[in-house]
Amino acid sequence: MEHFRAKIFHYSWLMCGQREDAEEVAQETLLKVFESFGHLREPERVRPWVFRIARNECLMKRRKSVFAPAKELSLDQFLPAQDQRDGRVQLQIADWSGLPEDQVLNAELRAELQRAIGELPENYRTVILLRDIEELSTQETAHILDLSDDVVKTRLHRARLAVREKLDGYLGGRGEHHGNA
């Protein structure tokens, strides 16, 4: 129970932005899960079912708080600029090659990632949380959010591009921009 509660709390916290709301969402979600477990038709799909309930609870919280209108992200806004130096085309992006692949994220990088995800518009944030943090499938995410698979794929890509861009700014700010030497 505590494992699920922590999972739901974390999703809700990044969705609602408030610890207190996330605590309540986690508690309400668990209550509903226990009360309606008998209605679950496919027990192997318990995780998407739990997140669907959590997502609905987050929406209820949002209705009670300040309404943030949905914002759309366009693909082109994330296309990085390129330039040509020494006869070679180069992207104007940071150097990602030094980023550790297999280590626990350090506190600074984790905070940057958390901030980048937290700043995404809600309709994109929920998709990247379910797909890349919770590692649910496209189909499961589509079911949770009442979206088509194609919309999930589109939003995931744009959410990733937005997070990538924020992290790129962070890595670049550490003096790792290409050609800045």
Partner: protein, 92 residues
């Protein structure tokens, strides 16, 4: 320094990168992307940064945990949990 425009193929690859990384594209589309990547260093560099972004998300572990449940909330949850277990035991 001369600004360089992305080619149409670079833009197409850029639009499909997440589906490519997720292995959600049909084999023909994958082959086309791989053919393009084989000759386009900027696209490789960008794809790698996107792949690392996804990897970072997957490795992200929250440090914030919910606070301990209050007595009433714990009792409420335990009651609902026990009812659920009882209903499952009674089910054919």
């Amino acid at each position: 320094m001369e600004t360089h425009e992305h080619s149409e193929t670079c833009r197409e690859v850029f639009a499909l990168l997440s589906e490519y990384l997720n292995l959600e594209l049909p084999p023909d589309a994958c082959r086309e992307i791989e053919q393009h990547l084989a000759g386009c260093a900027p696209c490789v560099e960008f794809a790698e940064s996107l792949r690392k972004t996804v990897e970072l998300c997957r490795r992200y572990q929250p440090t914030e945990l919910p606070g301990p449940l209050g007595q009433t909330a714990r009792a409420q949850l335990l009651e609902a949990y026990q009812k659920m277990l009882a209903a499952r035991r009674a089910a054919p």
